[in-house]
Symmetry: D3
Subunit: 135 residues, 6 copies
Amino acid sequence: MSDPHKNVVGDYQHGIEVMNRLWGKGVTEQLRSIWKKASPDVERYITAFAMGEIWSRPVLDLKTRSLLCLAAAVALEREDQVRLHTQGALQSGATPAEVIETMIHLMIYAGFPAAWQAMVIASKVISEHEVTKGK
Amino acid sequence: MSDPHKNVVGDYQHGIEVMNRLWGKGVTEQLRSIWKKASPDVERYITAFAMGEIWSRPVLDLKTRSLLCLAAAVALEREDQVRLHTQGALQSGATPAEVIETMIHLMIYAGFPAAWQAMVIASKVISEHEVTKGK
Amino acid sequence: MSDPHKNVVGDYQHGIEVMNRLWGKGVTEQLRSIWKKASPDVERYITAFAMGEIWSRPVLDLKTRSLLCLAAAVALEREDQVRLHTQGALQSGATPAEVIETMIHLMIYAGFPAAWQAMVIASKVISEHEVTKGK
Amino acid sequence: MSDPHKNVVGDYQHGIEVMNRLWGKGVTEQLRSIWKKASPDVERYITAFAMGEIWSRPVLDLKTRSLLCLAAAVALEREDQVRLHTQGALQSGATPAEVIETMIHLMIYAGFPAAWQAMVIASKVISEHEVTKGK
Amino acid sequence: MSDPHKNVVGDYQHGIEVMNRLWGKGVTEQLRSIWKKASPDVERYITAFAMGEIWSRPVLDLKTRSLLCLAAAVALEREDQVRLHTQGALQSGATPAEVIETMIHLMIYAGFPAAWQAMVIASKVISEHEVTKGK
Amino acid sequence: MSDPHKNVVGDYQHGIEVMNRLWGKGVTEQLRSIWKKASPDVERYITAFAMGEIWSRPVLDLKTRSLLCLAAAVALEREDQVRLHTQGALQSGATPAEVIETMIHLMIYAGFPAAWQAMVIASKVISEHEVTKGK
């Protein structure tokens, strides 16, 4: 987390480390390359600020942050975010049951269809994750 | 959680217990009375299904469920829900820092204005909670 | 409904009639005056197009259209719209039970909090409507 | 609808009957199997509570409930829900014109793009439905 | 813009001209044919009212209106609208940098994922546009 | 805008200057004090990153950025944002007509009620602004 006396925020190098821990080097490189192609500044903003500042704060660990992201992704019906944060949740110590439970909990807040469509996506990510781990 | 062989779901009595634990008897009675006035069936649905079934499931504890609700409340910009689930989070063991951190994390997903308006509301609930505890 | 061979759409005079039928002359004049103050063109667009064209179409009657508006108002959490279309629904033949039932139905689609907050608003409009009728 | 003196809600068997009436046995089995794969509890919640309790209530018939779902699906831009509830509306007695009219009515509330994209999807379902009926 | 003394709004012929200027004749014909298939009235409403009235108003030019549409498309996460209004923005004089900048600006309001997914889509449209121009 | 070779982003001092230009010193101090009370880090993030980085970028000027914010505020139905960015738009050179026109343009995208409610709010800000200027 950045120094309260400084004029600037974020930490690009730390942002890359957090992404590697959450999604692995492959996915991280792929995401950064997509962002860079859209705009090199945007890649810097997401890496330095979103990942190197916000995600790097204390108080809540990576697993809890991933579950919070899943809750937001269900509420806002963002399918790619469901996919990404299911991966991050599993990688940072959440069990498949905790991922699915997050979505079951959201049924009553985001509507049943938003929740079950997220579950269908998460289930696929969970299966792939288990195949990869089994190897 | 209801028996998988039964034709029915929910547990009204258990729902009331969960609400008492989350929000205290005063708020619980007030909420149930608002719901009943709108529709007695709706009071039953929320108490038996939302609280007595979904919130009563294992895998995630009341604190985590409250933080997930806060994430959804920020994402969907539901002010009354920010208020209610801040109370529930504090009552079920979350620190004020964890509540605010949940909203800081949401800045990059729900937009800065959605997050800081939720923080303003949560800060008031936190102050009141600390005054009450101090007595 | 406008003639398919014409270059134009809408019917301002008919729009005023539809509003009078839905909300009474008092509310209609109040709404039109609010719209005119924001922009005279906007008052014309809402009156001629929204009310004089869309609401004036055949196939669905005013009661069904009001219930559809209520469903959208719950889904999009628009409190003023819940108020307005509850009035219109009651005025065009919906029973209070049908208004509340619309919101109960929406619980599973828009989330429980969106639905019960709409019910609280609708209940007040229903009470006022019954007092007015009783006089 | 469940007994107000009972501790529980929902009716699983009745939920299956309602789904069969709305979407036919084939679609119903397909949906239940998708839900079960995501989580067997979720299949029970949707079947017993959403379908066996909410959809099984009196006051509004299946056709009206399907049109309300379409209004919500347009407002929340849920394409799969547009598809499903167009099928249900047609199956429970709505004419193709009523389905399309619901979306035309929503133009002014959910925005023109949300409405016409729903119409494109609904038109395809309507064509398929007519081909099937013609056989 | 329609005459304030008339009972009607919109201008169908002018709407077609505005669309031709924004998106070219090919895309315009394709869109109108999609709308007509869904409902001939809807094609008239969009062409005469949305394009021939709203888009034809003075005060803001076509470029600014296209950028405003992009802001709304990012905020509401409407991918087809991002595509369409990127085309219109470029065609009416916006530079590729202005289109991308609109989305960078939206990051802090609509959430980072909504903005970068829109950028990915807009980048493709920009590339295709440059290839076409280069020919 | 921050240097592409640096590990950090944002510019706190510049952020304050941009806010002063957009909203005046009084509103700026009030906002920063609200943010600080919620969380000192959040005040730094908004000031340094949102204002000192994103709003400080070239390509689009402060007036255009304010109008884009208004489009997003209408689309997401954020009343406080309508208020704030109407002030900023007027302060950075937009005419009252351009502010209202932005909302008229949004009618067909965000729905008529979202647009006219924003217009009511903006009209009040415009009147107050003109009174202040007249003094």
